[in-house]
Protein backbone atom coordinates (compact mmCIF):
# COMPACT_ATOMS: atom_id res chain seq x y z
CA UNK A 1 0.00 0.00 0.00
CA UNK A 2 1.15 3.57 -0.61
CA UNK A 3 -0.22 6.92 0.44
CA UNK A 4 -2.69 8.71 -1.84
CA UNK A 5 -1.99 11.74 -3.97
CA UNK A 6 -4.31 14.63 -4.91
CA UNK A 7 -7.56 13.67 -6.66
CA UNK A 8 -6.95 10.03 -5.95
CA UNK A 9 -9.58 7.64 -4.64
CA UNK A 10 -9.29 4.17 -3.16
CA UNK A 11 -12.07 1.71 -2.56
CA UNK A 12 -11.51 -0.96 0.07
CA UNK A 13 -13.60 -4.02 0.73
CA UNK A 14 -13.38 -5.20 4.34
CA UNK A 15 -15.01 -8.38 5.58
CA UNK A 16 -15.37 -9.67 9.14
CA UNK A 17 -16.88 -12.95 10.22
CA UNK A 18 -17.21 -14.89 13.49
CA UNK A 19 -15.40 -17.98 12.14
CA UNK A 20 -14.88 -18.05 8.37
CA UNK A 21 -11.44 -19.08 7.06
CA UNK A 22 -9.93 -16.07 5.23
CA UNK A 23 -8.75 -18.37 2.44
CA UNK A 24 -12.37 -19.31 1.79
CA UNK A 25 -13.18 -15.63 1.21
CA UNK A 26 -10.14 -15.17 -1.03
CA UNK A 27 -11.11 -18.19 -3.10
CA UNK A 28 -14.81 -17.31 -3.24
CA UNK A 29 -14.30 -13.71 -4.40
CA UNK A 30 -11.10 -14.31 -6.42
CA UNK A 31 -9.59 -11.25 -4.75
CA UNK A 32 -6.32 -11.01 -2.84
CA UNK A 33 -6.46 -9.35 0.59
CA UNK A 34 -3.59 -7.22 1.88
CA UNK A 35 -4.40 -8.33 5.43
CA UNK A 36 -6.18 -11.49 6.54
CA UNK A 37 -6.44 -13.08 9.97
CA UNK A 38 -8.64 -15.86 11.27
CA UNK A 39 -10.56 -15.84 14.53
CA UNK A 40 -8.08 -16.84 17.23
CA UNK A 41 -4.97 -15.58 15.42
CA UNK A 42 -2.65 -13.52 17.60
CA UNK A 43 -1.02 -10.35 16.28
CA UNK A 44 1.30 -8.93 18.91
CA UNK A 45 -0.74 -9.05 22.11
CA UNK A 46 -4.05 -8.72 20.28
CA UNK A 47 -6.06 -11.87 19.73
CA UNK A 48 -8.45 -11.68 16.81
CA UNK A 49 -11.95 -12.36 18.06
CA UNK A 50 -13.22 -12.72 14.53
CA UNK A 51 -11.90 -13.27 11.06
CA UNK A 52 -10.70 -10.15 9.30
CA UNK A 53 -10.18 -9.89 5.55
CA UNK A 54 -9.13 -6.49 4.18
CA UNK A 55 -8.79 -5.88 0.46
CA UNK A 56 -7.92 -2.88 -1.68
CA UNK A 57 -10.54 -3.28 -4.39
CA UNK A 58 -9.94 -0.33 -6.72
CA UNK A 59 -7.88 2.84 -6.83
CA UNK A 60 -7.51 5.62 -9.35
CA UNK A 61 -8.23 9.29 -9.92
CA UNK A 62 -11.65 10.94 -9.77
CA UNK A 63 -11.33 12.11 -13.38
CA UNK A 64 -10.62 8.62 -14.58
CA UNK A 65 -12.01 5.48 -13.13
CA UNK A 66 -14.22 6.50 -10.22
CA UNK A 67 -17.54 5.84 -11.97
CA UNK A 68 -16.20 2.59 -13.38
CA UNK A 69 -14.94 1.56 -9.95
CA UNK A 70 -18.42 2.08 -8.45
CA UNK A 71 -19.88 -0.01 -11.28
CA UNK A 72 -17.29 -2.70 -10.50
CA UNK A 73 -18.47 -2.70 -6.88
CA UNK A 74 -22.05 -3.28 -7.97
CA UNK A 75 -20.95 -6.00 -10.40
CA UNK A 76 -19.02 -7.72 -7.60
CA UNK A 77 -22.06 -7.58 -5.30
CA UNK A 78 -24.24 -8.94 -8.04
CA UNK A 79 -21.85 -11.70 -9.19
CA UNK A 80 -21.31 -12.91 -5.64
CA UNK A 81 -24.75 -12.12 -4.27
CA UNK A 82 -25.26 -15.63 -2.84
CA UNK A 83 -21.88 -15.57 -1.10
CA UNK A 84 -22.48 -12.15 0.49
CA UNK A 85 -26.01 -13.10 1.55
CA UNK A 86 -24.84 -16.27 3.28
CA UNK A 87 -21.81 -14.49 4.77
CA UNK A 88 -24.00 -11.83 6.37
CA UNK A 89 -26.63 -14.35 7.43
CA UNK A 90 -23.90 -16.20 9.35
CA UNK A 91 -23.10 -13.05 11.30
CA UNK A 92 -20.49 -11.63 8.94
CA UNK A 93 -20.09 -7.95 8.15
CA UNK A 94 -19.19 -6.45 4.80
CA UNK A 95 -17.91 -2.91 4.63
CA UNK A 96 -17.09 -0.75 1.66
CA UNK A 97 -14.65 2.07 2.38
CA UNK A 98 -14.49 5.03 0.01
CA UNK A 99 -11.23 6.86 0.55
CA UNK A 100 -10.68 10.25 -1.00
CA UNK A 101 -7.88 12.76 -0.80
CA UNK A 102 -8.41 16.43 -0.09
CA UNK A 103 -6.17 19.34 -0.94
CA UNK A 104 -5.23 20.98 2.33
CA UNK A 105 -3.70 24.08 0.72
CA UNK A 106 -6.97 25.94 1.12
CA UNK A 107 -8.34 29.11 2.61
CA UNK A 108 -10.69 29.37 5.56
CA UNK A 109 -14.24 28.47 4.56
CA UNK A 110 -13.23 26.53 1.44
CA UNK A 111 -14.99 23.31 0.65
CA UNK A 112 -12.71 20.30 1.12
CA UNK A 113 -14.75 17.43 -0.19
CA UNK A 114 -17.83 16.85 -2.30
CA UNK A 115 -18.85 13.29 -2.87
CA UNK A 116 -22.15 12.58 -4.55
CA UNK A 117 -23.34 8.99 -4.71
CA UNK A 118 -26.20 7.98 -6.97
CA UNK A 119 -29.25 6.40 -5.27
CA UNK A 120 -28.79 3.42 -7.59
CA UNK A 121 -25.42 2.73 -6.00
CA UNK A 122 -26.66 3.30 -2.45
CA UNK A 123 -29.66 1.06 -3.12
CA UNK A 124 -27.32 -1.76 -4.15
CA UNK A 125 -25.35 -1.40 -0.92
CA UNK A 126 -28.49 -1.24 1.19
CA UNK A 127 -30.13 -4.23 -0.48
CA UNK A 128 -27.01 -6.33 0.02
CA UNK A 129 -26.56 -5.24 3.65
CA UNK A 130 -23.21 -3.56 2.98
CA UNK A 131 -21.89 -0.90 5.37
CA UNK A 132 -20.41 2.24 3.83
CA UNK A 133 -17.55 4.24 5.39
CA UNK A 134 -16.28 7.43 3.74
CA UNK A 135 -12.84 8.78 4.67
CA UNK A 136 -11.01 11.89 3.48
CA UNK A 137 -7.23 12.03 3.69
CA UNK A 138 -4.80 14.87 3.25
CA UNK A 139 -3.01 14.29 -0.04
CA UNK A 140 0.65 13.43 -0.24
CA UNK A 141 2.51 16.47 -1.53
CA UNK A 142 3.67 15.86 -5.11
Amino acid sequence: MRHMTTDEFKIDLNLHHPSCDPETITAALALKPWFAKENGDKVGNVTHKKTAWLCQFRRGTFDEGFATALEDVVTLLSDYEAFFAEFIEQGGEVELVLNSTVDTAVEEGDKLLELSLHPWFLKQLGEHGINLRVQAWSAESE
Binding site: M1, H3, D12, W34, F35, H48, K50, L54, N99, W137
Partner: protein, 61 residues
Protein backbone atom coordinates in the same frame (compact mmCIF):
# COMPACT_ATOMS: atom_id res chain seq x y z
CA UNK B 1 -21.34 6.65 13.05
CA UNK B 2 -18.44 9.03 12.66
CA UNK B 3 -15.47 9.90 14.78
CA UNK B 4 -15.18 13.24 16.53
CA UNK B 5 -12.30 15.67 16.16
CA UNK B 6 -10.58 14.55 19.37
CA UNK B 7 -10.72 10.88 18.40
CA UNK B 8 -9.41 11.65 14.91
CA UNK B 9 -6.59 13.80 16.28
CA UNK B 10 -5.58 11.02 18.65
CA UNK B 11 -5.73 8.41 15.89
CA UNK B 12 -3.73 10.64 13.54
CA UNK B 13 -1.07 11.20 16.19
CA UNK B 14 -0.68 7.52 17.04
CA UNK B 15 -0.82 6.44 13.37
CA UNK B 16 1.64 9.14 12.34
CA UNK B 17 4.14 8.15 15.03
CA UNK B 18 3.84 4.45 14.16
CA UNK B 19 4.09 5.08 10.40
CA UNK B 20 7.23 7.14 10.97
CA UNK B 21 8.79 4.58 13.32
CA UNK B 22 8.11 1.64 10.97
CA UNK B 23 8.46 3.45 7.65
CA UNK B 24 4.96 2.21 6.84
CA UNK B 25 2.12 3.66 4.77
CA UNK B 26 -0.20 5.82 6.87
CA UNK B 27 -3.40 4.50 5.29
CA UNK B 28 -2.40 0.95 6.18
CA UNK B 29 -1.44 1.95 9.71
CA UNK B 30 -4.81 3.64 10.25
CA UNK B 31 -6.69 0.61 8.95
CA UNK B 32 -4.68 -1.74 11.14
CA UNK B 33 -5.16 0.43 14.22
CA UNK B 34 -8.89 0.34 13.52
CA UNK B 35 -8.69 -3.43 13.17
CA UNK B 36 -6.74 -3.94 16.39
CA UNK B 37 -9.00 -1.56 18.30
CA UNK B 38 -12.07 -3.41 17.04
CA UNK B 39 -10.61 -6.71 18.27
CA UNK B 40 -9.72 -5.25 21.69
CA UNK B 41 -12.96 -3.29 22.04
CA UNK B 42 -11.04 -0.08 22.76
CA UNK B 43 -8.45 2.18 21.17
CA UNK B 44 -4.95 0.71 21.24
CA UNK B 45 -2.22 2.60 23.04
CA UNK B 46 0.85 3.68 21.04
CA UNK B 47 2.84 0.67 22.35
CA UNK B 48 0.06 -1.81 21.61
CA UNK B 49 -0.57 -0.27 18.21
CA UNK B 50 3.11 -0.28 17.32
CA UNK B 51 3.44 -3.95 18.15
CA UNK B 52 0.22 -4.87 16.36
CA UNK B 53 1.04 -2.95 13.17
CA UNK B 54 4.67 -4.14 13.12
CA UNK B 55 3.60 -7.78 13.39
CA UNK B 56 0.78 -7.34 10.88
CA UNK B 57 3.11 -5.78 8.29
CA UNK B 58 6.02 -8.06 9.09
CA UNK B 59 8.21 -5.16 10.21
CA UNK B 60 10.98 -5.57 12.75
CA UNK B 61 10.95 -3.36 15.82
Amino acid sequence: MGKGTDALRRENKVAGDIAKKLGADKNAVHELLQEGSQMEGRALTYREGLEYVAKALGKLL
